[in-house]
Point group: C2
Chain length 155, copies 2
């Protein structure tokens, strides 16, 4: 991440990522893998979601997919060219594909996912060419939630 | 596709793909990009869907995603290890990712998609290692529907 190249001040990105982290904490409290996502358009949060794979018994119910679907419904549009999606963990291939179709302006993610993140599967970013990608924002906080979750499950 | 290696007789695969083609024709009739999908478990159709991106204003509403979500709800399970998904067109990256998470037994697709199909983005199949992939079944019929659709849109 090149902070000098950011078109939005870092503090604003951090503010929204902290809302995404709050969603991730919600997931944690519901015994879901703690991932949260927020969609922001023109400095307004238009959708938020946490991973609900277990609650919905649906392995497509990742935070990003739920947040995107909510934002599409909110806007009555299948594209979000002015939107930024904040997600606490590097998106998987399914979510990258969904974000590709949505043609978002920007995707900001937190912790890397060595096992299921898109970088494990593709050598070049599978996003829309117009989408800006920023990785590693508040990664420590997002990764700590994930580690606590999986440590508790192993006990 | 190596027909001799198929664990299900070709006529059965064809029968289910024709049901998926019927879904694709439904999509066509609703002015949607004509893609249809069917989920089969133990010789029973447990879900069927056609692409509804325009109807739902949701770019995640591909036939495969809708069929998977319907099948998960039907089974009360987030995995479908005994299921075969038939889809008329080569899945995109989003749908491959969704199928990966579902751990399906088999994916059978029809026409290739040179622009948006997963083979355009990845050199190795991004599916679960336990999932069998069969491509090209009734490809001509599926491709003809797509060509007719886009020809009509250009006029």
């Amino acid at each position: 991440m090149d902070i000098n190249a950011l078109s939005t001040p870092i503090s604003e990105h951090e503010m929204y990522m902290r809302l995404a982290l709050r969603e991730a904490a919600n997931a944690f409290d519901h015994d879901e893998v703690p991932v949260g996502a927020i969609v922001v358009v023109n400095n307004k949060v238009v959708a938020k979601a946490f991973n609900q794979v277990e609650l919905l018994n649906d392995s497509t119910a990742h935070a990003e997919i739920l947040a995107l679907t909510s934002a599409y419904q909110s806007f009555g549009s299948k594209y979000l060219p002015d939107a930024t999606l904040y997600v606490t963990v590097e998106p998987c291939l399914m979510c990258c594909g969904a974000l590709y179709w949505g043609k978002l302006a920007r995707i900001v993610y937190g912790a890397s996912d060595e096992k299921n993140g898109y970088r494990h599967f593709t050598s070049s970013p599978p996003f829309h060419p117009k989408t800006e990608i920023i990785g590693g924002l508040l990664a420590y906080e997002a990764a700590a939630l994930m580690k606590d979750f999986f440590r508790a499950r192993r006990q």
